[in-house]
């Protein structure tokens, strides 16, 4: 195209286009959003691949994430160090998986990671209780929470170990008609 932007080289933009579901314009726009989170920390020139990570507190302040009860878990699942510090690569990756073009399987993998609060690769009862409380802002009584968690594990657990492994989760998600449209952040 004809527009001269100096943030990324053409090769880098091609790489981003191949590795994510975004077009060139969207990637540049995302860089703009990443930059405005911390204008002093984030360089405008990414041609040398600077090693710059933004902390969790800045990222969850974005308007798209601010009101999401799972915002910390989302950012932690996409960060390489598990603490929520995102480089630009991981930032783009996060919004790519949450965009509307990502396939169901990819979204399911990351959804499992997000709901797995204690990072043990299983969704146990405590994970479910935490999820439910975040969802309903702790307005359900403890018996109702207990009941819903039991019913959830009943419905989804296929191998009978009283917790949900990834295959149970994926099987249950495949029956959800709304999953693709709800697990979607518009940016």
């Amino acid at each position: 195209m004809g527009n001269k932007q100096t943030i990324f080289t053409d090769e880098q933009l091609d790489a981003y286009q191949d590795c994510t579901f975004f077009t060139r314009k969207e990637i540049l726009r995302l860089h703009g959003r990443y930059h405005e989170l911390a204008p002093h920390l984030v360089p405008m020139d990414y041609t040398n691949e600077p090693d710059c990570k933004l902390p969790l507190a800045l990222i969850v302040d974005m308007p798209e994430l601010k009101e999401n009860p799972f915002r910390s878990r989302i950012v932690e699942s996409f960060s390489e160090d598990g603490m929520g510090n995102l480089s630009f690569n991981e930032f783009v990756d996060m919004f790519s998986v949450l965009s509307e073009m990502a396939p169901r399987e990819l979204k399911a993998i990351y959804a499992f990671k997000i709901y797995d609060f204690n990072v043990d690769n299983y969704l146990c009862k405590e994970d479910l209780e935490k999820t439910l409380n975040k969802l309903t802002k702790e307005e359900l009584t403890s018996e109702e929470v207990e009941l819903v968690c039991e019913k959830t594990i009943d419905e989804a657990d296929l191998d009978g170990d009283n917790k949900l492994s990834y295959s149970d989760f994926e099987n249950m998600i495949s029956r959800a008609p709304d999953f693709l449209s709800t697990f979607h952040i518009r940016i």
Binding site: A15, Q17, D18, C19, T20, T23, E49, P50, E64, E67, N68, P69, F70, S77, E80, G82, N89, E90, V92, D93, L98, A102, P103, L106, I109, Y110, K113, Y115, V119, N121, T131, L135, T136, E139, L140, L147, V148, K151, A156, L158, D159, G160, D161, S165, Y166, M172, I173, S174, R175, A176, P177, D178, F179, L180, S181, T182, F183, H184, I185, R186
Partner: protein, 682 residues
């Protein structure tokens, strides 16, 4: 394609990933923990990287971005090694991908109202957004159909000057008297009356069927444009085109519905894991979303309680409940029939007294539209009250209410059309006194097609006027009253709720009217496009200023499919009308492109014989049995193949699910055995 050696000075992280790939070393321990169990591989396998299709598959890998970029570099490095033929195909696929992504960017630019839809979806949820998406689909459909009609009918009519009613007609038979625009000078207010009722100057314009002539333009003996044939084929193709668009749109929605196999309402795991809409924006919206999820869980728990209660009912109470339901069903049928009778009487009255002029005349003209709108407004309200008595479970109540509303709207339009038909063709009896001469009621309807087109035009216009009137006179005042006057009554009534199903039915009704009238009023799709665009902005304004988000959600994916099914019903109704007008009713002799032939369809055989002999033989062959029976057999075979394939897939899915269960049990058994052995060996 740069070699990786150029990047050796780029940052440490990138180079070490590359090195780790080459040396096939495992990445750091920390990142292993973050992956779900299934992905227990530290290195990508060769087949992930090798083939030319991988650019697309790279995005779907669940790996951190740095690894994906490294994989891509490895891919690109392998390129120069392959043969020239492979690299040529790879280049071609690469440029195709680039073209596709450029095209996608281009389309994105043209995507209508994208930002507004995002805002609506974020603040009010997927259900309301699906209404606006449906509205956008209809706007685009109408606009494209208008371009079709303009290209094949309107522009050629203007170019070949094959339009315009000739006031001094040379033929002067008993069926030929038709004067659409009698007075020369028109009083000013009559201009508006004519605009609203489609008479006068509007009747004598490109708008209605009567303006077009049946000249087949001949220029220098070479240019030949058979306008009547074009008119007919455009109308038929318009219907086919709309059907294709609807089915294509349905296909994408149906795929999701079929893949998920339909879902039951009381599904806790789905609510917990897919209930939260990640696209929710704003403080208000998230609070409401949380309340919504809480409400849904409560509703499901409530439904369970109701089921338990219903199962424990004594037989007498059960009989009482069922008889009450039957009674309510009969009452709702009675209400609907009463509405139909009202429409029938109003239409007859309007047609009998349409000689009156002035404001009273306008009122009588619009009487059928008013009765239909009043019926569509009142009867669902009453049916809602009935539903309260019937005490079905919440999901069944919604479906029943929707079905009643759909039946009411579609058949009320059908009653209007039936009344018109009975008056035009003297109840189908061509030997009756009025219809004997010209096969249709020539005294009342010198140009009946234009009259039908006028009725449809009036319905469309009235629908829009009522929506605007409701907006200004009911919704805005309601909000002002509720916000500024705090009393028990205003709290009870509360702010307006944007009810998706009834709004969608309004759209379907409007579109059905346009389809019915398109044959008689070629500009109607354009008017409808403008109307729907206007409606979009009106509804958006009322949504943001007057409405609160609904507490009860309407599922977005299955609802799109449902809207399209209802739209298809409307299409079938208008198709019946079109087929009947084309094939059975005698066209007006005083106006239009089909005068002098007994039915509109007759133009096709007439023009057929002017084609060349070879073409005639070919078309005869296609229509004959020697061709159509093998074609039918072949399509049956193809259909059975797809049915068999679908059942095989369904069966293998069921088998795999059972296998998964068994594997889990095996795993548990093995774990128990290991523990037993451990404890016995200690």
């Amino acid at each position: 394609m740069s070699s990786p050696l150029d990047r050796s000075d780029s940052g440490n992280g990138f180079y070490s990933d590359q090195e780790s790939l080459r040396l096939r070393r495992a990445p750091s321990r920390m990142s292993n923990q973050n992956y779900p169990q299934y992905n227990w591989r530290s290195n990508p396998s060769d087949d992930e990287v090798g083939n030319a299709e991988s650019p697309r598959e790279l995005r779907t890998l669940a790996r951190p971005m740095a690894q994906k970029k490294a994989l891509r570099q490895v891919q690109q490095m392998r390129m120069p090694v392959s043969t020239s033929a492979k690299s040529w195909t790879h280049n071609k696929t690469k440029s195709l991908h680039k073209l596709k992504s450029n095209f996608r960017e281009f389309l994105y630019f043209f995507s209508l109202w994208r930002k507004s839809l995002q805002k609506i979806g974020g603040n009010f949820g997927g259900g309301v957004e699906s209404y606006f998406l449906f509205l956008r689909f209809l706007v685009v459909l109408n606009f494209v159909s208008f371009l079709l009609i303009a290209g094949f009918v309107i522009v050629p009519s203007l170019v070949f000057r094959s339009a315009g009613t000739s006031l001094n007609s040379t033929d002067d038979g008993p069926c030929m008297k038709y004067n659409p625009n009698p007075q020369g000078l028109v009083v000013f207010y009559e201009f508006f009356l004519h605009l609203l009722s489609g008479q006068g100057f509007m009747e004598d314009s490109l708008m209605f069927y009567g303006y077009y002539n049946n000249n087949t333009a001949m220029e220098e003996g070479r240019l030949f444009y058979n306008l009547p044939l074009a008119y007919l084929f455009t109308a038929v193709f318009y219907f086919a085109f709309c059907l294709c668009c609807i089915i294509a749109h349905m296909g994408t929605a149906a795929r999701v519905v079929v893949a998920t196999g339909g879902s039951t309402m009381g599904n806790y795991s789905l609510i917990v894991f897919t209930g939260w809409d990640y696209g929710c924006l704003g403080d208000q919206a998230t609070k409401l979303k949380q309340k919504n999820i809480y409400y849904r869980l409560q509703v499901d728990l409530e439904e369970e309680r109701i089921k338990k209660q219903a199962a424990s009912l004594t037989p007498w109470r059960r009989v009482a409940l069922y008889s009450l339901r039957v009674l309510m069903f009969l009452i709702s049928i009675g209400l609907i029939v009463a509405a139909f009778y009202g429409i029938f009487v109003a239409t007859e009255f309007s047609q009998k007294n349409n000689e009156k002029t002035g404001i009273l005349g306008l009122f009588i003209e619009y009487l059928p539209s008013m009765v239909i709108t009043a019926g569509n407004f009142l009867v669902p309200l009453l049916c809602d009250q009935i539903a309260l008595i019937e005490k079905y479970s919440p999901s069944v109540t919604v479906v029943v209410a929707l079905l009643r509303a759909v039946v009411l709207r579609m058949v009320s339009l059908g009653v209007l059309l039936f009344t018109l038909w009975s008056q035009i063709t003297c109840d189908g009896n061509t030997e009756a006194m009025d219809c004997k001469m010209c096969q249709y009621n020539v005294d009342k309807y010198p140009c009946w097609e234009t009259r039908v087109g006028q009725e449809m035009y009036k319905l469309t216009l009235f629908d829009l006027l009522v929506t605007i009137a409701l907006l200004v006179l009911v919704e805005f005042p309601r909000r002002m009253v509720v916000d500024n006057w705090s009393s028990k009554l205003s709290q009870l009534v509360g702010r307006q709720e944007f009810v998706v199903p009834s709004n969608v039915l309004g759209l379907v009704y409007g579109q059905t009217v346009v389809w019915t009238g398109a044959l008689f009023c070629p500009l109607l799709p354009l008017i409808n496009t403008v109307k729907f665009v206007f409606l979009f902005y009106c509804k958006k304004i009322t949504l943001f200023y007057n409405c609160r988000p609904a507490l009860k959600t309407f599922r977005s994916t299955t609802s799109t499919f449902f809207f399209l099914v209802v739209l298809l019903f409307g299409w079938i109704l208008s198709l019946v009308v079109m087929i009947y007008s084309l094939a059975v009713i005698h066209p007006s002799m005083a106006c239009g492109p089909f005068r002098f032939i007994p039915t509109m369809w007759q133009i096709v055989p007439n023009s057929f014989y002017s084609l060349s002999k070879v073409t005639q033989e070919f078309l005869f062959f296609i229509g004959s049995q020697a061709f159509s029976i093998p074609l039918f057999a072949l399509s049956c075979v193809v259909m059975f193949y797809f049915i068999a394939l679908a059942s095989i897939y369904g069966r293998s899915v069921a088998m795999l699910k059972a296998q998964l269960k068994l594997k889990g049990h095996d795993k548990q058994f093995l774990v128990k055995q290991i523990e037993k052995m451990k404890s016995s060996s200690l």
